[in-house]
Amino acid sequence: MKILVCISHVPDTTSKINFTDNNTKFDQNGVQYVINPNDEFGLTRALWFKEQQGASVHVITVGDAQCEPTLRKALAIGADEAIRVAVPATDGLVVAKALAQIVSEDDYDLIIAGRESLDYNGGMVPGMLAQLTGFAFVNTCIKLDIDHGKALAVREIDGGKETIEVALPLVIGGQKGLVEESDLRIPNMRGIMQARSKPLHVKELTPVATTATTLSYEKPAPKEAVTLVSGVDELIDLLHKEAKVL
């Protein structure tokens, strides 16, 4: 089985979010970048397939050379090869079309991406990639097993879950549940050394034109200070009369 894991290079969850250049660019100053958490759950599940059932695992990202340390980390925890598509990741459709072109040049059975990235929260690349490649698609996937070309996937729905039977090739929009937090791997020295000699291919493509251009960002206005109340009666009264939510 050949697995492709789509990795997004995103600011760490504790990062301060600021903008520069007249609020048109994300301020990278002091920001640590990580593998997008939803992607990391999927990558760890892919490595489980590699070790338990036999599979090769490629990781891919779309972006400039700054993303390469994130790909090297994925190699250090066990991926076999990495691909960086040297196209500016201007919007989800551009990214999905670039990924679809790479997928069409190989013979992947399974593509695992995160349900959404922590930066743009678009949650659109996995579904678009499935539609562009003709692969089946399961989103918000919390459990995935594969047996003889058939997948059994569990999807989180509002208020519960559903079990889906689907044939490969398949695209997964994954999240926590594919593996547990405690299954996530920290690169060790041996892995880091090995990652240096694993292939990291840089693919040049002619990007399609973007049709969604982000012009500017704004941070929400600072919140008013909390109203501390002394007791339950006062709280109920305020929620009823002032906030009007009871």
């Binding site: 678009g122 579904g127 509002d158 559903e162 009871l246």
Partner: protein, 320 residues
């Protein structure tokens, strides 16, 4: 040219988020000086959708659409949009709509912007505002595709009421069979879902152990609220993952969010900060949640929550 809303239903009943989306679609259609079409699955029947702002209704009829299937629904909605020459197509932020929207975008060759928080800033050029960085910022994005797909954030617009009636036309889409087969569905029917809840009651490690969760469940029952929890609580296995709210868990956009014994880590606050009113109950007055909340009580959950339950019962009786 027109605007088309996909109005979700559950067992033939239009969902509240769909009512909100119809009202948003009507305001947008008025802004563009065009007509609002509302696409619904056939089991919705003849419910009065004009009251929320629908002007034309497209009934989608096909036996393959009796239960949800993202790829089949995406094809059907794309064909509805093409049949009315929609320039703007609107979907909600439910799990099912977030699932089908990217496939719909490719089907329509549309730019897709989810998490929109208000009407477009301008329609020529077409500029929308949407939340990014898990609600820590808002972006303004210009959409230049011929067809535009917009996802409305939860609880962002509200339902408006209109007079009048809407005309219904039927459409039988031409569908490729779905690739996915749903073999089992497991849904708690007696609980309020976090996604739909007006009120969410959430607790953290301050509750000391899963055996104390009856306090949270009792409070939720009095309020008709959904129950939720912090990440450490779901990691410890005290509560199921499906209750974990925050940056890597479920987002919450309720009218009222009550956090009990949750310190308020940045990742937790990011997931809940689009809730309208936030209440915190915590023994530690230095807990970061107090900086993010609207109302706070410094106190022990084991004292405050039982009293809150009793007083709310009295309040409900008086205001019933």
């Amino acid at each position: 040219m027109s605007v088309l809303v996909y109005a979700e239903s559950d067992q033939g009943i239009i969902k509240k988020i769909a009512q909100e989306l119809i009202s948003y679609g009507r305001a947008l259609a008025d802004q563009l000086g065009t007509t609002l079409y509302v696409a619904v699955m056939a089991d919705v029947g003849t419910q009065n959708l004009a009251q929320y702002g629908a002007q034309q209704i497209v009934h989608i009829e096909h036996e393959a659409l009796q239960s949800f299937s993202a790829d089949a629904f995406a094809q059907a909605i794309a064909q509805s949009a093409k049949s009315v020459a929609a320039e703007v197509v609107l979907v909600s932020s439910s799990a099912n709509s977030r699932y089908l929207a990217p496939m719909l975008a490719v089907g329509l060759d549309a730019a897709y912007v989810p998490n929109c928080t208000q009407l477009p800033l301008s329609t020529s050029p077409f500029q929308v505002t949407h939340s990014v960085y898990t609600n820590k910022a808002e972006a303004t994005t210009e959409m230049t595709s011929a067809v535009k797909l917009i996802g409305l954030a939860k609880n962002a617009f509200g339902v408006s009421h209109f007079e009048g009636t809407a005309q219904t036309t039927s459409l039988t889409p031409d569908l490729n069979p779905s690739k996915c087969h749903v073999s089992a569905t497991d849904r708690a029917t007696d609980k309020v879902m976090i996604a739909d809840a007006e009120i969410v009651v959430s607790a953290g490690r301050g509750l000391k152990g899963p055996e104390n969760w009856h306090l949270i469940e009792d409070l939720a029952e009095v309020l008709g609220a959904a129950t939720a929890c912090s990440k450490p609580v779901s990691d410890l296995g005290w509560r199921p993952h499906s209750e974990h709210v925050g940056q890597t868990g479920k987002p919450v956009a309720s009218n009222l969010y009550i956090a009990i014994g949750i310190s308020g880590a940045i990742q937790h606050l990011a997931g809940i900060n689009s809730s309208k009113v936030k209440v915190v109950i915590n023994t530690d007055p230095e807990a970061p949640f107090f900086k993010a909340a609207d109302y706070g009580i410094v106190g022990d959950a084991f004292d405050v929550v039982p009293e809150l339950i009793e007083k709310l019962k009295q309040f409900k009786t008086l205001n019933a």
